[in-house]
Symmetry: C2
Subunit: 441 residues, 2 copies
């Protein structure tokens, strides 16, 4: 019995490279059977791996006397086994978090925050958690029936960052049997805050039924979840590569994507990209991909999405240049758009058509603004000028339009009225050289 | 009711691009509710899509009178709806197939063979099958608990080759309800040959329990299976790209893999490669990857696996050159190894050290053979010569060793004894220019 259990633990340690010699490991210790097993296991390995161990108990203050009893039990057992013990009382109900959600989610968030805090404080390298194969399979099923894509079907990761789960190859039942045979005491976890109905049904009815239908089903599901975890990891890598190549966050929360590059990728990677960046689900990504292929603009949830001339632009804000009056020489900054407009008494410039012109004093006051529906120059629609120049739709609202006495006299890079030359220099340029600029292509 | 059902069907047709105008579709028609629904649906769409339809019924001859009744029922319904009807009686129990396995597997194989046959015979483009979302979710669960990697978790594909499944968005219950309301008759499918116990438990107990735990679970599982299908498809594409770049089938069933190229790929793709090529499971691929990284040789199932000097070689046969005596000039062919040895009265060649030498008549008879443990040349181990020349381990057995009077006088590319020149030309070359040769690198 001990042999099989320890074989499984050694296999997990090896397969996921969990422990190095000389490691320091903080043990999440509730006093429940899994965490007692974890303490026992790591204690047994302490000499072999030259481990520095400590146990940490969080009293969620949700079950009054029972919680106190659990804390006391945990303290005593740790002392008995010569493992330094740390505990905290945190009134979860009163604790403020950024998390909106159920008490379970809140409790989870706090737990992991405190593990992190204590790990740092003790200058430990790792945190060991008592999750079992059974927990992992339950999580798999739980996510499966809630619908959660590939990620949720990975079950519980055996290792994530500094968290390790040495019991991940053990089933809950074999742990309890082991503790019983060894006569090792534990409490019934008073910190079990998982949503009762769903979890319990999965635990008490669904998993047994699966095993009844096919012996070893749990193990098979666990194996699948490990395979899916690796698949998910691979896909994440591919998506991140594509992200680097094909996307740019141009303004805060606004993304610019290279449609022709993205188009060349596999459908699944495209979808994963949008899921990753914006959390779009299956249906939503299909909609976005349709826009990506065919061009056009839509509003999806609270996103503005626009695709034209090889660019897909996704933003949460409709960005545009506010109407601004230029009365006299000066510098006008539009920080959010990384756009600066300078009006000064200047030398004559030769860059006439591009972002810098000389105009006559007669053309003050000038109004600078975003283009509007119906704007015309030379009797033609301004829009047609943009299209002829292949300016993507989303950029058009950010290109300044200079207007004098109701007439558009300059649209940098697009249009310049003749016969307006004079002794004032008007320039459109960047505020920050290194940041994205609307004229960058 | 009709509206919702037809909305779902149109969505499936569109999402998976199932039907084109003017298509010709053979309908797999058992007479059971799903296939009656399928017939009804395609009949309803016949005008709109200008479809050519026919129904095909296979009588498996497993349930005697009942099977006859089903065939008759099917024929009548098809006739009533003006759809050409074809049927066959095939005694599945007696039918010979290459398939070893259960009666279900055999029946499945035959069914699909006959669909293919009739599609070709009628010169139709597609075959429509009556699988539902419920079938797909059942298959998902069935594969999940049997353990089948990513592929099995894709459920039933909505479209594969020329097979289409227009009912894939419908649940079994809504179909039966629809037929009841419309007063459309059907038989209870006598061809349902799926393994009773497992399938029935999943159908009658597991799926209802999942829905009880969370309403809509079936739909969520179905969505997951579609996502996993796309993921699987992407991974297949990646694996095939890697296959093309990094692998070569050198002899029949013997694979040569470029280890340094494979090493640069993601763990999951590496594993998928070996799963794809050899059907290795999770554990087995880990073992192979270990060899790939560290070099060495192992026997895994019935495969010989050997890794050295940048090459991984996997074979089912231990290939070696049979001992052969060269008594007089002639041509000696080793077809399996694409190796030819020519001994002839020849001109003097200048390619001395490479695959062609002139030797004296005194050195006949010559023995050509594979290297042996303990072979020595110049008082040193032949093995060390191979290692110095960086000849991968698996190639060493295929490089001919020429021996005269117990002494090795030539190993092409490796070693040549001095002072053996004469008027005979000895050459090692390919039989087929385009096939792999052991000296190719």
């Amino acid at each position: 019995m001990k042999d099989i259990i320890f074989q499984k633990i050694f296999k997990a340690l090896k397969d996921f490279n969990m422990i190095k010699k000389g490691d320091s490991i903080l043990i999440a210790f509730s006093g429940g059977p899994d965490s007692v097993m974890l303490l026992y296991v790591l204690k047994s390995l302490q000499k072999k791996f030259n481990l520095k161990l400590a146990a940490y108990h969080l009293n969620h203050m949700l079950r009054g006397e029972e919680a106190k009893r659990d804390e006391e039990f945990s303290r005593k057992l740790a002392e008995e086994w010569n493992i330094p013990f740390y505990s905290e009382k945190i009134d979860i109900k009163k604790y403020k978090t950024e998390k909106v959600g159920s008490l379970e989610e809140k409790a989870r968030e706090i737990r992991y925050k405190r593990y992190h805090y204590w790990k740092e404080r003790l200058k430990f390298r790792k945190v060991a958690l008592g999750h079992t194969k059974t927990d992992s399979v339950e999580t798999f099923i739980y996510n499966l029936i809630r619908g959660s894509g590939l990620k949720g079907l990975s079950g519980i990761p055996p290792v994530r960052d500094f968290y390790i789960r040495p019991l991940i190859y053990l089933e809950r039942e074999e742990i309890q049997e082991f503790l019983k045979i060894k006569n090792i005491p534990y409490v019934i976890d008073s910190t079990n805050l998982e949503p009762e109905f769903t979890r319990n049904k999965i635990r008490l009815q669904l998993l047994p039924l699966l095993e009844e239908i096919r012996k070893g089903a749990t193990q098979k599901i666990f194996q699948s979840s490990l395979i899916l975890k690796e698949a998910e990891d691979f896909i994440q890598c591919e998506v991140k590569k594509l992200l680097k190549k094909a996307t740019k966050e141009v303004f805060k929360g606004d993304w610019l994507l290279d449609t022709s590059l993205i188009r060349s990728y596999h459908l699944f990677i495209k979808k994963s990209l949008f899921h990753y960046l914006f959390g779009f689900n299956f249906e939503e990504t299909s909609t976005v991909l349709n826009i990506l292929e065919k061009g056009g603009r839509i509003r999806l949830r609270d996103f503005y999405i626009s695709s034209s001339f090889g660019e897909l632009y996704i933003s949460k804000k409709e960005r545009k240049l506010p109407d601004t009056v230029l009365q006299k020489p000066g510098i006008f900054e539009f920080d959010e758009l990384n756009l600066k407009i300078i009006l000064e008494r200047g030398e004559k410039t030769t860059h006439r058509m591009l972002y810098r012109i000389n105009i006559s004093w007669d053309y003050l006051p000038l109004i600078v603004r975003s283009r509007r529906e119906g704007d015309r120059v030379h009797g033609k629609k301004l829009k047609d000028y943009f299209i002829r120049k292949k300016i993507p739709e989303w950029r058009r609202a950010l290109i300044p339009v200079f207007e004098h006495a109701g007439e558009i006299i300059w649209v940098p890079g697009i249009y310049l009225k003749r016969g307006i030359e004079g002794k004032l220099k008007l320039e459109v340029c960047k505020i920050h050289g290194e940041k994205f600029w609307v004229f960058d292509k």
